[in-house]
Amino acid sequence: MTSGARAIGSEQPSLFDVVPDLIGTRARAPKPHHKPASRSSQPHKVRQPRPARHYAARETLLQMRDRVLLNARQRVFGLVLAFVALALVAMVQIVWLSVQGSGPSNRPSVASLVPKRGEITDRNGTPLARAHPSLSLFFYPDAMDDGGSPLVRPPSEVAAKLKGIFPHIDQAEVEAKLAAGEATTLIPNILPEQANAVWALGEVAVQTPPDQERHYPQGRLGAHILGRYIGAKDSRDFGIENALNDHLTGEATRGQPVELSIDVRVQGALEDEMGRGMRLAQAQGAAGVVLDVDTGEVLAMASLPDFDPNRISEEDAENTLNRVTYRREELGSVFKPITVAAAIDAGLITNLSKRWDATPVETPGRTYYDYEDKGKVLNIPQALAYSSNTVTMRVAEQLGSARLRRSLMDLGMHLPPEIEIHERGEPLWPKLEPDGEWSEITTMTVGFGHGFNVTPLHLANAYAAMVNGGIFRPATLMKVEPGMADPGKRVFKASTSQKMRQLLRMVTKYGTGQNANAEGFRVGGKTGSAEKWVGTHYSKTKIISTFAAAFPMDRPRYVVVVSLDEPRITKAMAGRTAYFNTAPIVGNLIRRTGPMLGVRPDNNRVVDLSDLDRLMKVGQ
């Protein structure tokens, strides 16, 4: 701008030079044409021709005016441009700040909160597995940066000193790693005092950078569900850690915790009661599951003996066996209600008061008796309440192989149980005859739960379908939001389900399940004590004792299945059958967890058994 002004000034007369002319010109300017009419009569003054100099000055003046205007415009334009540039810089800065600076996901500090492996929580958000800050022992050969040996002392000496701090390490292996001179993690998850001891060694290349370890705040709780086993020599993931590995480690998904269907309070109570029952009965093992009958959610699932996923343990290696989803056993009499339900559903049992032959069943190789003789004839409520083998065998016989098999297949008992974890046991079915069906005796033994191996989870699923109105749903370990439950498939009529609720309630009120009858919870269920197959024959002393229950029976919401492996008669247990050991476990569990699960005990509410009560008294 200033250069422009200077150029004009140097080549042309400046504006100020011609101003007097301009003033003079204006002063001599002709008057406007629209003079008043009165003056029109006055004679015109003759205008004198202007001198040439005057015209030249006027022209110069006009040129000057244009230049001045141009100059002014340029200046204004430049000024506007400067402001626009300033505004633009400000805008760019605002956009840059908003894009780069303020998004929470873009902040490196927030990103550091995302764990290396996703968190697992229970249905109420209580953490079951999470990343915990720890330290690791790392060998960084370039730390000295002097071109010489990365270690001050020889590798063998350093390895020996490390062995002194970490007694469990393989000294030769560590020495080999140190000698190799490559950056590597020597020991993951070390303790702070161990890190201090390493620091005191004075080896710059042996460092203890921060790391993350997997921690299970609840310790042994739900160890089989979570599935992290750390042995001295081998570590492996199974359960949820294995099944959802991609989700837990995925860049996009690991920031969000995985919500399981488990409720830690119920899980804790189940493990506690099972552990206590197992100790009292001196059993080899125990399995238990609590299932929501309307959604298939597993509220608790426990297998004992268990292990601690936070500790390195050698002796617990066998304890990783999941007895609920993987171990298959003949579960015995708990199958009787399923046979009866299939018979009611098929129209075979239309009258519960019908009397069935309860005398021993003779087969070519064996004679089957009832556990306790309750008479020569029994009706269906009595047969279930007293767990009559003979009546159930005769019901199965009349039902026939095809219809019984169909029912069991509808309940998913011919396939591994449907659940997210991979440890699922394939059921063992009796051999089929050439005609594609079971023989008569096989049908009869399957009818009361023998010769047929399934997992406790199969049984829980079947009981859920039996009491929830007849809908079979696969079990799930993932939390199901309200209204998002699997629609399932109908396997029993609603009327059959209604009848089964009554019958199961009868068993706990009058029959073998009385020890599970938690007051006010309207528990219904069935005992099962099956002789254990010991390779070549059925043991007379070793049994699998099971209790399958549902509550509250006026509107069932949860199924509980608890099974003990080889319970014994002890001072605390008067017998080894389910009546003595598993039924009390279930009763105590329901008493403890019912209120947590939203079921309040109420002595004023009862399941209507008026039509069946009198049947129990028949013949007695």
Binding site: V110, P127, P217, Q218, G219, L221, Q267, G268, E519, G520
Partner: protein, 180 residues
Amino acid sequence: MMMTANRLRQIGWGVVLGICVVSFAILSLTVHAARNEVLLADIKIVELKKKQQRLETEFQARASQHQLAAWNRVDLGYSAPRADQYVDSRKQLASYGQDVRPGGPSPIRVARADGARDAAQPRKMVSPVSGQPITLASADLPQSAGGAFTEAFGDFLIEASPIREAKAQGSTVLVAEAAE
């Protein structure tokens, strides 16, 4: 004169532009400083969150379900509540105070029930410790002032008084007085 005005205008614009540039620079620096403060606060928040997570984990580990069950069973001797320990409704709760047997004792009478019946002329409140009568500050005030005082400080007095039952009655009386 014109030259001076023009020059002044030029200088004026320059000064305005300069002020804008300087303001912008100051603003930018302020924004950056604020941003850095936010980032520092952010880092602190994350550190605190990590610390919180560590503490949470420790609490969870120390109060694990197994540990709680052991304390409940062994140290405290707790057991699951029985069905008859649950109360369904107010009626059920009230029924505990009445003996349905013929000739049974009369129902337990609650002090509050007497006060409610005799609300027009409440008994003098006395301190349960010293037995001396207690007078609320607002009780002797003129009616209008009492009403205003009750409105303004009634709740506070009720909260502040160490005598729970008595003050509940007192408040009823005060409000009743205020309403008159």
